[in-house]
Amino acid sequence: MIAMQPVTLLLLGAFAAFSLFFLGRRRALSLGTSQKGLKSLPAYYGAYAALWLFVPVVIALLVWWSLSGRLIELSMLQRIPDSVVASTAGNPGLALDEIRNIANGAIRVDDDVLVALARDYQALQVESRRKLSVAALALALAGAAFGLARIRPGFAARQRVERFIRAVLFLASSVAVLTTLGIVATMLLETIRFFGQVPATEFLFGLEWSPQTAIRDDQVAAAGSFGVVPLLLGTLLVAVIAMAIAVPVGLMTAIYLTQYAGRGLRAVVKPLLEVLAGIPTVVYGFFAALTVAPMVRQLGEGLGLNVASESALAAGLVVGIMVIPQISSLSDDALTAVPRPLRDGALALGATRSETIRKVLLPAAMPGIVGGILLALSRAIGETMVVVMAAGLVANLTANPFEAVTTMTVQIVSLLTGDQELASARTLAAFALGLFLFVVTLALNVLAQRVVRQQRIHER
């Protein structure tokens, strides 16, 4: 029996299902008489049979895919002799990685033991693929036989097929819930592991962040300290600077475009703002590092200030520019949604347009505007590339915008780029930060939605 590649298997299954569709349809046609006819269109019978073939194959593949790697790993770990484990600093995971690399041909070694193990590894893989092929074939045959056997006049094939389609649609819509669950579960698991190595209180209230722990267990290195406070302050500093730019500019833009600008200007500016919103963040990072940071530095020097080349001000400024479109478009919506009679009433009483805007429109549109600002704030906090490229790496406990600060996202990137073991405190710290970030942005988002809903309620 050949051990087929999973992809081949899938394609083969799809082809077989496709053929079975026509077979089933013909069978249904041959059964159907005009009087006591079929209950469904012939194609549904074909589809029914094809599903019975294809779905089991897919399920077999998915089960194999999620389990086989783990199983092979476990049985390999039992086989690796202690001598090999000892040569990789007592870490069987590293030994396994090495064996895997040898098996893939990525590295070449002369060690006979390792080569033999790599051969074992390959044999196990082939064996597992063989088992998969056999299982998939058996399932496909059984499914096809069952599906074909059920093609009879009076059998309601359409209802079954449609029920299946609905189930698939339902599963697709559940992916969103699964994603959230996945995010929460993975972050929580890794964070709990992290708190096993570093106390939660130290993480939450520690004033120092210097995650230089040993990458391998036998390395001598500083213990490293994981206090999140400086990162939090840095993130907040950047976000506050960003908001200081984005809120006035975004809000005034929305006001000008909705209240003053003619149709022509609006037709030009709105697409430009959309362009601003569609530019990838890495481009903003490039802009920040190459243009804005030197500009801020020069400006600071001109004023006699000592500005770091990776100042919080430059990063915050660019993050602010980035979220301008978000604030302006949501404020735009909120302002347009204010009932027109409210505005006309104020104008009729003799208020100037700016008075109308400030005293009538803005209060009425406030929930929508605040919602937009909260969303923009959440985006500024979670923004990564701009700060990675333009903010510093060293945690600084400062509120001075001219100094270099670092943010949570920068630290996540710097902790996770490069090859590290997933179990070290260094790597796990990134997940603790990720969870923190997720919770903060989620809270801001929920709050924003609640605030926005308030305006809708008022309008009714």
Binding site: M252, V269, T384, L416
Partner: protein, 430 residues
């Protein structure tokens, strides 16, 4: 003290003046805000263009190469094997030396080599292997200059540049000037940028590998995010009962759209790489992560498109005896498809510009080989931009800007495609 009519008039006039001045100021602020936004946009584009346009062209030098058998044909039989083993770098070096009088000292050799790209020897070799008759002759061949020379020819570095910021010394500038006076320096289209993968040498570095990686991710997203997103949208709009689970799904979709992209990267690192043991740095994993990231956007826009299909259409189909599934797939979905596709393309284009999640799953490695499958290690265009932009070498920074231009052009093309699709189907009403 009686208030006269005139006093009242004066007070009102003064207050009116104040109020109108305030009105003008307010309006001016508004205009200024609009201008600030546009100004930043212009500044951004100017930065990218001024940095990047130069990188689309590359300086080449025309060198008279004496292809002597002693240097290029070590075995002496003119065979392919022998010619492949020749010392072409020496031929190139001699050619440069011949053109520049007064550089016979051994100490000058390193400085001379600094003018020409390492690619020069390879280009000569390929040429000689293709036409072995060249051995023993003199060939005038255009070869790429080093990136340092390229910067000088572009005028981005000159004799006033502080030493720390340049690779060449004044004498090398003189040499380039001499060559230029002979008409031996030209800037041509930088084919390496399009043809090659990443390289340690800026003049050889290209975006091909990164572009291919992005294309693979695009394919993965089209295969996964598009059908799943549309299916989810169809379910929520057409079939979902009003219950707790449906509410939960809706809340989740709205919240996922606001989760920072880097969190998706963390998710991908744990689930796809650690649990499912998929290969690190693979576009498949990148595509999976970006698919999850773009899913909420696709679902939201697809729902809007489905909602826009008039209810009368559904009623008509149902009243003719079609089942709900038949109604949706036979009538509603075809009507909504242009809108769905438009929204999906825009969502996918946005995801293709993402960098942070890809850094988490190791797509940030140095990749010189063009990936051949979605499982090969690869990087992506935005990541390539990031990597080059972080380099202290000015030539790499210029290439980062050039890669940005390509990236923006690619995203713009996708968005234009979406707009065109919408235009094309807009006129077709039910």
């Amino acid at each position: 003290m009686a208030t006269t009519r005139q006093d009242i008039r004066n007070t009102v006039a003064a207050s009116l003046r104040r109020r109108h001045a305030r009105e003008r100021r307010f309006r001016l602020f508004g205009l200024a805000a609009v201008l600030v936004g546009i100004l930043f946009l212009l500044l951004l584009f100017m930065t990218v263009l001024s940095q990047g346009v130069g990188a689309f062209r590359q300086t080449e030098l025309m060198l008279p190469m004496d292809v002597t058998a002693a240097q290029v044909d070590p075995l002496g039989d003119g065979s392919r094997v022998s010619l492949s083993a020749g010392d072409y770098d020496a031929v190139v070096r001699d050619a440069v030396q011949r053109l520049l009088p007064g550089t016979e000292l051994r100490a000058d050799r390193a400085a001379l080599v600094g003018l020409v790209s390492v690619e020069a020897g390879f280009r000569l070799r390929d040429r000689v292997i293709a036409t072995p008759e060249l051995v023993g002759q003199r060939v005038e061949l255009w070869v790429p200059a080093s990136d340092a020379v390229d910067l000088y020819v572009q005028g981005r570095v000159d004799r006033d540049t502080p030493d720390a910021a340049r690779e060449l010394v004044d004498r090398q500038f003189d040499w380039v000037d001499t060559l230029a006076a002979d008409g031996r320096v030209a800037r041509v289209f930088n084919a390496a940028l399009i043809k090659n993968g990443d390289s340690r040498n800026p003049e050889l570095a290209g975006i091909r590998a990164a572009f291919r990686g992005s294309l693979y991710m695009l394919a993965v997203m089209l295969v996964l995010a598009l059908p799943v997103g549309v299916a989810a949208a169809v379910y929520l709009e057409e079939f979902a009962p009003r219950n707790r689970w449906t509410d939960l799904i809706e809340v989740n979709i709205n919240n996922l759209a606001a989760v920072p992209s880097i969190v998706y990267g963390l998710l991908g690192l744990v689930v796809f790489i650690d649990w499912l043991s998929l290969p690190r740095s693979a576009p498949l994993v990148g595509g999976l992560v970006l698919a999850l990231l773009s899913l909420p956007v696709i679902i939201i826009s697809a729902r809007a498109a489905i909602k826009a299909v008039p209810g009368t259409l559904r009623d008509a189909a149902l009243s003719l005896g079609a089942s709900r599934v038949q109604t949706v797939f036979g009538h509603v979905l075809p009507q909504a498809l242009p809108g769905i596709i438009t929204g999906a393309i825009i969502g996918i284009a946005r995801a293709l510009g993402e960098t942070a999640p890809l850094l988490m799953i190791g797509m940030v490695a140095f990749i010189a080989d063009i990936p051949r499958s979605p499982l090969d290690p690869s990087t992506a265009l935005p990541v390539q931009v990031y990597q080059w932009a972080e380099s202290p070498d000015q030539a790499f920074v210029a290439r980062a800007a050039a890669a940005i231009i390509v990236l923006l052009a690619f995203l713009l093309a996708m968005n234009l495609l979406a707009v065109m699709l919408r235009r094309k189907f807009e006129g077709r009403t039910v």
